[in-house]
């Protein structure tokens, strides 16, 4: 579904991504793991068109999307939950959910019911200002908002960041549920353990280049990965 080839991105004066290639097959969960500053977020931001790559190709359903505007990329069926959640604090929970479907002109009722069934807590708070939600609830809202565009590919940037372990487990079980509903997922994580358990395929990024790849379960048992990212 998504194929990144030799992507090079300069960001803030440095070469943040140095020619990485990876592939996200249809209906799979793929994860990019790596430490802070490895270039994971920059990669996602290039795919959404928020950052312009220096060179390389990004093929989505065999169409090169480099150079397209973020709005048109979102319109093609790619969406992203940004790092740090970035919900709109000055909109209500329901308005945040609706703004996720900004490009759609059809009826949203069924989708709203669906995201409320995934996150019942959001329904209870639908009239609250989103800025008043707890961190975990904001992450749920962030995912719900992304789902409202009916994405084919959902990219998630550090969904576990700053959340309590129980909430993280919740979020990951929801990620599996979303995937079962037919959404392809590209997950960027520092929490390598959970990410690799969840993902079909994993890629390890270090200083802007891919150093290791393999099925999630295999990487979990890889000595180098264990040492660097799992702390065992």
């Amino acid at each position: 579904m998504l194929k990144v080839e030799d992507l090079v991105v300069h960001y803030g004066g440095i070469q943040a991504v140095r020619g990485i290639s990876f592939e996200v097959p249809d209906k799979s969960i793929v994860t990019l793991i790596g430490s802070n500053g490895a270039g994971k977020s920059t990669t996602l931001r290039s795919i959404t068109g928020l950052v312009k790559p220096t060179s390389g190709k990004i093929l989505f359903q065999d169409e090169d999307i480099v150079g397209k505007s973020t709005e048109s990329i979102v319109g093609m069926g790619i969406t992203m939950t940004p790092e740090g959640r970035r919900i709109f604090p000055n909109l209500t929970v329901l308005e945040n959910i609706k703004v996720g479907a900004y490009l759609r002109k059809d009826d949203l009722k069924k989708d709203i019911e669906w995201v409320y069934s995934l996150f019942p807590r959001l329904e209870e708070r639908s009239w609250q200002m989103a800025g008043t939600l707890s961190g975990g609830e904001q992450q749920m809202l962030c995912v719900a908002r992304a789902l409202m565009s009916r994405p084919k590919l959902l990219m998630m940037d550090e969904p576990s960041l700053g959340l309590a372990p129980l909430v993280v487990a919740d979020i990951f079980s929801i990620i599996r549920k979303i995937n079962e509903a037919g959404v392809t997922i590209l997950l960027v994580e520092q929490n390598a353990n959970l990410a690799l358990q969840t993902a079909d395929t994993g890629y390890v990024i270090e200083t802007g280049a891919i150093t290791l790849t393999g099925p999630g379960k295999e990487l979990l048992n890889n000595e180098a990965v264990k040492k660097a990212y799992l702390g065992t």
């Binding site: 928020l50 709005e71 709109f88 604090p89 000055n90 703004v99």
Partner: protein, 303 residues
């Protein structure tokens, strides 16, 4: 300095005038507050947009012998477009520049328009077309007032209600509020942020044009610097109410209108200082409550 106790008629007349002046101020103040809300920019060219609206109506009336309503509509549409053009030409290229650059660009546009007006229209004052429908004096309960003193607040109320509906209950309004917090995340929602900004300038300029037309009917002298003082005062009104908040701009504008009119009414000896008084008020707000009455705290934090 003597305190004058006005008669009942004078007082009622003063209230009516204050409502009308407050309405005029709100129409212009909303433009400042909306642009600030989305770009965190004090659009110093807003007063000149106001001035251009008066000239536009004047020339449509005199050159094409157009009836007043055609001239007014043409003026409003023309100035809404001018607002979009200013944004595209002077602010959009600086979207990723430091905010101070955009501010200086705004000051530049302001001087450019003033001087353009001197060159193109000359410094000799022009007379805004008169429209008896608005300017005739009527007697309501023994009080003599111009008809527009009643019409202006009604038009303002309708426009403000429509604007609040747009911002609070439509998709475009949600997009505007979203973009006012976070451009990148708004783009991820599929919002075309540049379009939202254009629409914001369009609405702000449109309201300023309506305000300018009403202003012209009340004070018919047009010259290249006619927008400076109303522009600054409406900026003060927006800060007073809490810049970034539309409700705040309206409240600030009415407060300023009332304070000015009441100052003239009760302390006629000080009426020459009424403009200075507005600036004193600005200094006091900035010292005491910089976020204004309905201040948008997050917006000010970012500033």
């Amino acid at each position: 300095m003597n305190v004058l106790i006005p008669s009942m008629e004078q007082f009622v007349q003063g209230i009516a005038n204050a409502l009308s002046l407050g309405s005029l101020y709100s129409l212009v103040a909303i433009g400042y507050t909306m642009v600030y809300g989305i770009l965190r920019l004090i659009n110093f060219a807003h007063g000149e947009v106001f001035m251009m609206a008066m000239y536009f109506v004047f020339y449509v009336t005199t050159l094409f012998q157009a009836p007043w309503y055609i001239a007014f509509i043409a003026g409003i549409v023309g100035i809404a477009l001018l607002g979009i053009v200013i944004e595209r030409a002077a602010y959009k290229p600086l979207r990723n520049a430091p905010r101070i650059s955009v501010l200086i660009s705004a000051i530049g546009v302001s001087y450019l328009l003033q001087n353009l007006a001197v060159v193109c229209f000359s410094g000799i004052p022009k007379q805004f077309p008169s429209v008896p429908l608005f300017q005739d004096v009527i007697i309501v309960g023994g009080v003599h007032i111009q008809r527009m003193v009643i019409i202006v607040p009604i038009i303002t109320a309708i426009l403000v209600a429509a604007l609040l509906y747009l911002v609070n209950h439509t998709k475009m309004g949600i997009a505007m509020r979203a973009a006012s917090r976070d451009f990148d995340t708004s783009r991820l929602m599929g919002i075309n942020v540049n379009r939202v900004i254009s629409i914001t300038f369009c609405i702000g300029s449109l309201l300023a044009a309506v305000g300018a037309i009403m202003w012209g009917l009340k004070y018919p002298k047009i010259e290249p610097y006619v927008g400076v003082m109303p522009g600054l005062k409406c900026f003060i009104a927006a800060v007073l109410g809490g810049i970034g908040s539309i409700g705040g701009a309206v409240i600030g504008a009415f407060l300023l209108g009332f304070i000015e009119i009441m100052l003239v009414l009760f302390l006629p000896g000080l009426s020459g200082y009424k403009d200075a008084f507005a600036f004193v008020l600005l200094i006091i707000i900035l010292l005491v409550k910089p976020t204004g009455l309905l201040g948008d705290k997050a917006g000010v934090d970012k500033a």
